[in-house]
């Protein structure tokens, strides 16, 4: 497949406005303004573009459900908070070329008839956020943003909000609180942000990768986009592979590409002599998969069927000398640290899990610790306030299933089985 999203991206020398335009940039604006907003939404729906922020909600459907009669002002939030461990795809979009993002936002905001858009940029990406702000200025000066863009009668203002920097700020309602200057605790599910979001107005949130697909879909058509995928998938996808591989990195490939191809062809496979223990397919908040899942297409439904989540589509690879308990503990510690502190199960339950795992890792586990972990996870996930905690316990729940004998050996032998493996290997 020819690169679509990454074609003109170059983090070392991102294209400025003239060069971007010379390469066909901003052409989708004319195409969009020639269409009625509803027609544009229809094309996105037909393309079956699913959200790239983790949940995979169909983008066109989300836009249509917002409704054409939503009260004004309406907002579009571009989620560029990317804090999921193992995920660095949005960073590439940001540093590789800001104008692609701006173009995508203009076209998407036009489809939604939103007059103001905020790009929420992860705190650690501040440098990229600042270049993005400069690019917005450039586009404003060129009349690509502002009032009556290109004589279309459509007005749009775009701003960059650089995050104070916490994982939970990526959750859309916590993000809305953050933009409003409040504590980034998630909001209740009802009313939905599409009804009452940012400053009480109808608000649509999309991941930046979701949005950058829109201009390409518009210029090339829904069928073209659907055909980009393989194994039943639709579109192109930015995959990341990290962990115990020879060439970790970012690869734009058809959605539906298998993990086997990603890990062994594109990321160079594991180090010599190492076997694959398992992998996490979609960022830290998804369940472990095993070598037997290597041929499952990397797409929302097939991965869900395999018992995990496609998430951000960013794989973390574990080899056979990595202790899965230590690796899971590492993830649980991360989530315990990033809990926003709003609801009890997540705030106080995750550190409890971390404490039990720490004890087992130190060789002081008790026989019933594993069932205790399972009992606690079974409550923490479903009874929490937002989707953070269900995601947080996923790797642990699956790791307990996939690698149970390793956990048990920690308890029965009183030390980590991988310590000896590693020492022997050294």
């Amino acid at each position: 497949m020819e690169a679509v999203l990454t074609r003109h991206l170059d983090p070392t020398a991102p294209l400025g406005l003239p060069a971007y335009q010379a390469n066909g940039g901003y052409r989708s604006l004319t195409a969009a303004f020639d269409l009625k907003p509803e027609a544009l939404i229809k094309i996105v729906e037909d393309a079956n573009l699913r959200g790239r922020g983790g949940a995979g909600f169909p983008c066109g459907l989300k836009w249509r459900l917002r409704g054409t009669d939503a009260p004004r002002p309406r907002y579009l939030i571009c989620n560029l908070d990317e804090s999921e461990p193992g995920t660095f795809k949005d960073r590439h979009l940001l540093y590789g070329g800001p104008h692609q993002i701006i173009e995508a936002i203009i076209v998407s905001a036009y489809a939604l008839q939103a007059e103001r858009s905020i790009i929420f940029v992860r705190g650690e990406y501040a440098k990229g956020g600042n270049s993005l702000s400069r690019a917005i200025k450039e586009a404003e000066t060129a009349g690509l943003i502002g009032s009556n863009i290109g004589g279309s009668g459509f007005d749009l203002q775009i701003e960059v909000h650089i995050s104070g920097g916490r994982y939970i700020c990526g959750e859309e309602t916590a993000q809305i609180n953050a933009i409003e200057g409040r504590r980034p605790n998630p909001r209740p599910k009802i009313p939905r942000p599409s009804v009452k979001g940012l400053w009480g107005q109808p608000t649509t949130s999309n991941n930046v990768e979701t949005l950058v697909n829109v201009p390409h879909i518009l210029l090339n058509g829904a069928d073209w986009f659907r055909n980009l995928g393989v194994n039943g998938g639709c579109g192109s996808k930015l995959f990341c592979v990290s962990g115990k591989v020879q060439h970790p990195g970012l690869f734009e490939l058809p959605i539906g590409t298998t993990a086997r191809e990603l890990i062994f062809e594109h990321a160079g496979g594991l180090a010599k002599g190492r076997d694959l223990l398992g992998f996490i397919p979609g960022g830290a908040s998804t369940a472990f998969l095993l070598p037997k899942h290597l041929d499952v297409p990397m797409d929302f439904d097939p991965i869900a069927k395999a018992g995990s989540r496609f998430g951000t589509g960013c794989i973390i690879v574990f080899d056979d000398v990595t202790c899965p308990l230590q690796a899971t503990l590492n993830l649980i510690r991360f989530f315990a640290r990033e809990s926003c502190g709003f609801c009890t199960p997540c705030r106080d339950g995750l550190p409890y899990l971390a404490q039990i795992l720490t004890t087992i890792a130190a060789g002081q586990g008790q026989a019933n610790d594993l069932s205790l972990l399972e009992e606690l996870c079974a409550m923490i996930g479903p009874q929490s306030f937002c989707a953070f905690a269900p995601g947080a316990v996923m790797p642990l729940v699956s790791s307990l299933q996939c690698f149970r004998e390793h956990y048990e050996r920690h308890i029965t032998t009183g030390h980590c089985p991988f310590d000896t493996v590693n020492k022997k290997g050294a």
């Binding site: 990033e338 502190g341 609801c343 009890t344 199960p345 106080d348 550190p351 409890y352 404490q355 306030f385």
Partner: protein, 771 residues
């Protein structure tokens, strides 16, 4: 009523929009909870209110949901006792107890701790968690509220009350994960006048009553009784708690139309006056302590000797019974009675009560929360703190507030328009506003934009409120405010913050105005020989204190009944210390005209009768016949029935009152360039009784002369410069503080400063820089 839900078999009706928890609690069906609070709503943070909800589809498994977030819908089957729901609650408690210090034996919350109750009711009996506990550092939050963060269960009630409800900004949630910290950015006294409510709103021992703590007892040992706050005219319902003959603390008692779940810090901490070391506890005659009987005999002799040359001053903080009996005694002796010691305050209060009685009824606090616009005259925070809190709720709902003020007042933060008006110009301003509201569109002049804006805002409101602080308004301005209400039509509501817990009752009993002047003049001309003063301090008055002091020199006998040490008790020839409010029963009539009874919570070891009891004893010694207080009251107010303590109270029957317009008082002063108008600037702790509460007084603002930056520029005075103030009685030097909330040509001063200078609110004084 929309339908019925069933909770474990109980059928419970509900109102549309209610959630399951609210519905259950209203029907006295227990669902455990932490973070929900009727005033603060549902947020779904604690996850303790888990219940099981049956599916319509019998093949589907029931789901566990949070009762506080689940809307009630007809026919819903809910189970609190289902094992799945119980499991969730048990885990929640287990999680919350992970870091809890388990220090119940030394925790002030013990015995009334929501966490303790829920843990016993829902939680596991043994802990499984084996790791370390997290430890926080506590903060010094000032003299009123004690802080112990380790007990926190992160229910967010404190910030939701402090920030969202009471609109304070110096306490909040900080940090994240299991390290969320509720406190101030740095140590320091809490700034909100409602901070003490943290003690009650916090379901654990994080925020506890710092005063109660100084003389602690377990709450189950406290003697309590339904009572009414004696510190202002709002009449909040409270629950004093005492042990071993001393008053230990005050909490709120819910009244559905007044204070509901809260009280202000003056009401919560002002009670320290009754335990003040200077409080008079033994009767005194001619400076010597004496038994109660002997004091009665001495007083009887003097009253007999005086014949009809006798006067009596009741009080706006004295209960209805004490005032009524004193008046009855004076009537019997052909003496003169007034419940006021300042003619201007008398005129203003009687006028306000008259206007309220002639209106369709003054709004309750809960009604005030519903107004969509308000015109506020004066500093409600200082004179009726809980009205301020009610208007903050109106503001949160979108009400537009306009504040006309002479000096700083906290409500200006929430107002769309704030206008500093010098005391002398308030009347004129109100007539301009009246003209503007009543004028035909064509005749409206476009010059005065802010007046036009205020007028239009009030006229456009569906339910505007007009409210004034009586202590800082002249009678004519009180009438002008009522006229504005009339001009705005029948939907406009009128209210006045009156100057004392029983000012309304005092006004009804004073009946004809100018009584105070009559008494004062009669003393000055020797027509009154003996004066009985009950629960007031004329000799310490701001404007007239020196005149009263001089006049009282001419008296044969000054008989004083009070429970605090004042200038007047110090000058008393015969002093009867009386019971403070928590030690006696009585009735206060609040700003609405609602009579509310209060019951004694305890008796002190000393013999301390109530004012009414002292007067009844005097009546007996004088060999007079007088009916008892209830009989006197039902004679004075046909249809009156003493309200039962703990009830919602009853409106006083409408009573004819004269309208008193004393135009001579304010405007006739000549303006002189050195003359400034004095404005009383106070804070929520400033009240006669509460000023004897040491902890509260630690928060009193320092005395400065507040003037506006413009006036300062004009007079060539700089911030911090010393100025000399000269009033009719004395002089004082104060540092200047610039504040743009002070009106032009006005110097805002504390009550203490006014007393020392001998000026009242609106009086003129001289101000010059000290070189």
């Amino acid at each position: 009523m929309l339908g019925i839900i069933r909770i474990d078999g109980h059928e419970i009706p509900f109102e549309p929009g209610d959630n399951l928890l609210k519905v259950a609690l209203a029907a006295d069906v227990d669902i455990p909870y932490f973070c929900y609070h009727a005033a603060l709503g549902s947020v779904g943070a604690c996850r303790l209110c888990a219940v099981e909800i049956m599916s319509d589809d019998p093949d589907k498994v029931p789901r566990v949901a949070m009762a506080c977030l689940e809307p009630a819908s007809d026919g819903l089957e809910v189970s609190v006792s289902a094992p799945a729901a119980q499991q969730v609650r048990q885990r929640v408690i287990e999680f919350l107890m992970i870091n809890h210090p388990h220090d119940c034996p030394i925790c002030d919350e013990g015995g009334e701790c929501h966490l303790q109750e829920m843990t016993v009711a829902c939680g596991p009996a043994y802990r499984r968690y084996q790791g370390h506990k997290r430890t926080f550092t506590n903060q010094n939050l000032g003299p009123l509220v004690h802080h112990e963060m380790n007990r926190c269960i992160t229910c967010y009630r404190c910030t939701r009350f402090y920030q969202d409800y009471a609109l304070g900004d110096d306490l909040g949630a900080m940090r994240l994960r299991n390290e969320v910290y509720f406190g101030r950015f740095q140590d320091g006294p809490l700034e909100s006048p409602f901070a003490g409510n943290l003690v009650e709103i916090c379901p654990t021992g994080v925020f506890t009553d710092a005063i109660f703590r100084q003389h602690f007892t377990r709450v189950w040992d406290l003697k309590t009784a339904s009572s009414i706050c004696p510190h202002c005219s709002v009449g909040c319902n409270i629950l004093p708690g005492a042990r071993d003959g001393t008053l230990r603390r005050v909490r709120h008692r819910p009244h559905p139309e007044i204070n509901r779940w809260f009280i202000c810090d003056r009401g919560r901490y002002g009670h320290q006056y009754s335990e003040h070391t200077a409080r008079p506890l033994t009767p005194r005659v001619a400076g010597a302590t004496i038994t109660y009987r002997k004091a009665l005999i001495a007083a009887t002799e003097q009253i007999k000797a005086a014949g009809d040359r006798i006067g009596g001053l009741g009080s706006i903080r004295e209960d209805l019974e004490g005032n009524a009996l004193l008046r009855a005694l004076l009537n019997n002796l052909n003496g003169i009675f007034s419940a006021f010691n300042d003619p201007e305050l008398e005129a203003a209060t009687i006028t306000a009560v008259n206007r309220i009685q002639n209106s369709d009824g003054t709004p309750s606090l809960t009604e005030m929360e519903q107004v969509d616009a308000a015109l506020i005259l004066g500093d409600l925070t200082a004179h009726a703190p809980m009205i301020d809190l009610a208007l903050r709720q109106a503001y949160r709902r979108g009400a537009q507030l306009t504040v006309l003020h002479n000096g700083p007042t906290p409500l200006t933060q929430f107002a769309v328009t704030t206008l500093p008006v010098p005391p002398h110009e308030m009347g004129a301003y109100l007539s301009r506003l009246h003209e503007r509201i009543t004028a035909s569109p064509a005749s409206k002049d476009v010059q005065d934009e802010s007046t036009a804006e205020i007028a239009e805002r009030l006229a456009a409101a569906r339910r505007p409120l007009l409210i004034g602080v009586v202590e800082t308004l002249a009678a004519s301005e009180i009438i002008a405010l009522a006229q504005l209400a009339t001009a705005l039509g029948t939907d406009a509501r009128l209210a006045y913050a009156l100057p004392g817990a029983n000012a309304y009752g005092a006004a009804l009993l004073t009946l004809a105005s100018r009584k105070t002047t009559t008494i004062l003049e009669a003393i000055e001309t020797g027509q009154i020989q003996t004066l009985i003063v009950a629960g007031t301090d004329p000799l310490g008055d701001t404007r007239l204190g020196s005149r009263w002091r001089a006049a009282c020199q001419r008296l044969n006998t000054l008989i004083v009944l009070d429970c605090i040490a004042t200038t007047t008790t110090a000058a008393a020839d015969i002093l009867f210390p009386v019971a403070a409010w928590a030690e006696r029963g009585g009735t206060f009539v609040n700003y609405e005209g609602r009579a509310q009874g209060f019951a004694p919570a305890f008796k002190r070891l000393e013999l301390l009768p109530s004012t009414a009891e002292v007067i009844a004893d005097l009546v007996q010694c004088l060999d007079l016949y007088l009916p008892d207080a209830p009989a006197v009251l039902s004679e004075a107010f046909p249809g009156y029935q003493a309200p039962v303590p703990g009830s919602a109270g009853s409106l006083m029957p409408v009573h004819p009152l004269p309208t008193h317009i004393d135009t001579a008082t304010r405007s006739d002063h000549e303006h002189h360039h050195k003359h400034w108008q004095a404005a009383l600037t106070t804070w929520y702790g400033d009240e006669e009784l509460a000023s004897f509460a040491p902890a509260l007084m630690k928060l009193a603002p320092t005395a400065t002369a507040l003037i506006s930056p413009a006036a300062a520029l004009n007079a060539n005075i700089e911030e911090g410069a010393q100025v000399k103030l000269r009033g009719p009685v004395g002089t004082m030097t104060l540092p200047v503080q610039l504040d743009n909330r002070v009106a032009d040509g006005t110097v805002a001063l504390t009550r203490m400063a006014l007393v020392q200078l001998g000026v009242g609110h609106g009086d003129l004084l001289e101000l010059e820089p000290v070189s």
